[in-house]
Amino acid sequence: MSAAAEEVVTEAPAVEAVPKRAMTLGYGTSLVVLAALVIIPLLVKNFIIFQMTMLLIYGLAVLALNILTGGSGQFSLGQSAFYAVGAYTSAILMEHVGMNYALTLPIAGVICFGFGFLFGQPALRLSGVYLALATFALATAMPQLLKLGYFEHWTGGVQGLVVTKPDAPFGLPMSQDMWLYYFTLAITIAIYVASVNLLRSRSGRAFMAIRDNEIAASAMGVDVALYKTLAFGVSAGITGVAGGLGAIAVQFVAPDGYTIQLAISLFLGMVVGGVGWLPGSIVGSAFIIFVPNIAEGISKGLSGAVFGVLLFLVIFLVPHGARQVAIVAQQLAAKLKKN
């Protein structure tokens, strides 16, 4: 290797490299979290269960973004568009075609995968902020596309579509909310495990190689274009499933629900949870669901400003988000053990 070649690749990576082992939780912690997620709904009101369902759903969407940004190093401010496509796919299939809600989710996932993969084709020529801007365009265009007269018969136009909430199957003695929660939990766990495995696999290593250094990755024989679009596709697919679940949980889809605001929220959730740390997705999701409520509780007129201050504090005190908190906690625990 000549010195000249090395100089070309000295550009600082936009996303900090996260070793793949640091991307997940240990088995013990995983089991505790899982147990909590399974048991808590048995003890709380339906409304809290609904909020927990939304927590998982947004958690999935944040996870999807985390795979894209934390895994392959690409930015996206367009996740709301994929979320919307997933939501509308599920809603239209359920209400117009009469399909079972569970079957609509894989279809939503596949359609969004295709959509993301295709969008990844032109997008992969862009990088960093330019890619973020291209996806931003997608997010701003989506609500208007959903309002278009051509699709109005299917999408319900500006009025949106009302979705019927499914009952628990086999006559299980649980409320609709509780059933939907466990249904969502099962899907979330499946996708989480699959994502962890994906990042540990050959493809995952390829993603991370691209994130850390594109030129080095291609020198190692990684098909950069293919893996970048693949990361986009996978991320969009998971977001689509989350969108479909969201439509079922909220029982309604309308263009106003999927504005750029949502994309920014998801991005926020990822940063707060810790970029590249998959378990942080749930923490990030909790942040974007509950902190606006807390801010509103503090001041109604200035809820936006209070939210801003809280966000600023988080970024200032723990710039690496929940991951940083987890690492500190781990170190403390290790110290206590030694003593």
């Binding site: 809290i48 909020q51 309002k147 309604f252 263009p255 109604k300």
Partner: protein, 408 residues
């Protein structure tokens, strides 16, 4: 004289005692979740943040109104607890907040929640739960559907109602009109356009040109030029304030002088007519159902004086010139009326029953002659409007109260 008065007082006191004891014996107190001997819990959802945050004023006005009611003893001794949440105008958030209100805050009803898509999002839920979704703050016509959604009721005249009022006027005064329509490409504009076409019925061909604009467009000049080129002599502007002012100004600039009709949404003197130029705005028609706080002709009006007194004493930060303040005031007053009618039977079913039984009720800030009427088959409280014409620097009401029903 004094003796007579004393005996009269004694007599009336005795009568009062008898009446109250009868009441106690007859009227069973009945409560649903959210109501008790001391409290009535009312939920509300408003866009305090986000793109429609200007409407947040409505929620703040209502909160102030209920504070005033509580300060003067509440409703039959019960204080109103008004719980208002922010949904940022986003339907998924509305669902979350509505569920929080119903399942966690245990409200008796959700009152005047704002927005069309946001309210559609919770309508099914509210009806399944059988919790009143009372006096929805949206101009869509779908809230008047007691058969399918017996727990949902609108309040203001719908956009379609207003469109019908204009259509009737045009068909009466200029049956050969060639109409150009400019509308905003969203639920507001489309609902309105639909109402307009329905009202014209088989005469819909009178509309010779339609142009839609997006709120993201910096200027709508080119649409106005196109509408003029279509040879129209009547111009209906279904626009929000900024674009309404642009349209009036551009029409004057290119010397297009059709009969102009402006939606009530933009009939603001300070927000539209002044920036568009008074000289360009003369003769424009619109319709209203609320008194304009900026209009001096109401200064001596008893209802307006009560409203001004409320602003002074209980809501000093409220803006009298903002139509949303008068709106929130009148809506809150309607709810208080319904709760008073409920007496001691504060069940959700009785709330809906009383809300569907309003006869000739007049909130302080409604135009004279416009009354609130509902029935078990009519869930559209306000259906009347008055036409007005812009003259000098203010709106002049003219003609009779127009009911928007299609028949007359």
């Amino acid at each position: 004289m004094t003796a007579a008065r004393q005996s009269l007082t004694a007599l009336s006191m005795m009568l009062a005692l008898i009446v109250t004891s009868c009441n106690l014996a007859l009227a069973q107190k009945a409560y649903d979740t959210g109501a008790s001997d001391t409290e009535i819990r009312i939920g509300n959802i408003m866009p305090y943040s986000g793109p429609a945050s200007a409407y947040g004023v409505i929620g703040k006005t209502e909160a102030a109104y209920f504070r005033m009611i509580n300060a003067s003893g509440g409703i039959r001794g019960r204080k109103i607890t008004f719980i208002s949440y922010d949904d940022a105008y986003s339907p998924p958030k509305t669902v979350e907040q509505a569920r929080k209100l119903v399942e966690s805050d245990d409200v008796l009803l959700v009152f005047n929640s704002l927005g069309t898509a946001t309210n559609v999002a919770i309508r099914k839920y509210m009806n399944e739960k059988q919790v009143p979704q009372l006096f929805v703050a949206s101009g869509a016509s779908k809230w008047n559907d007691p058969k399918d959604y017996p727990w949902t009721m609108g309040w203001q005249p719908s956009y379609q109602d207003e469109a019908r009022v204009y259509a009737k006027y045009i068909m009466k005064h200029n049956p050969d009109a060639k109409i150009a329509v400019l509308y905003q490409n969203d639920d507001f504009g489309k609902d309105y356009l639909k109402g307009l076409k329905e009202a014209f019925g088989d005469k819909a061909a009178m509309i010779v040109a339609e142009e839609a604009y997006e709120t993201s467009e910096p200027t709508i000049d080119n649409h106005i030029v196109k509408l003029k080129a279509a040879g129209a002599d009547t111009f209906i502007s279904i626009t929000t304030p900024k674009f309404a002012a642009q349209a009036i100004k551009k029409a004057a600039e290119i010397a297009w002088t059709p009969m102009q009709i402006l939606t009530n949404v933009s009939a603001s003197v300070g927000g539209v007519m002044q920036p568009a130029g008074y000289e360009n705005s003369q003769g424009i028609l619109s319709a209203a159902y609320l008194k304009d706080g900026a209009d001096p002709q109401w200064d001596k009006d008893p209802g307006m004086q009560k409203f001004i007194a409320f602003l002074k004493k209980d809501y000093p930060e409220g803006n009298r010139l903002d139509g949303a303040t008068a709106f929130g005031y009148a809506a809150a007053q309607t709810l208080v009326k319904v709760l008073e009618l409920c007496g001691d039977d504060l069940t959700r079913a009785n709330v809906m029953k009383q809300a569907a039984n309003l006869k000739g009720f007049v909130p302080d800030t409604l135009l004279p002659g416009i009354t609130i009427n509902t029935s078990p088959t009519d869930f559209a409280p306000i259906k009347q409007l008055r036409l007005m014409r812009f003259k000098g620097e203010k709106w002049e009401l003219f003609g009779d109260i127009i009911s928007s029903s299609l028949s007359n």
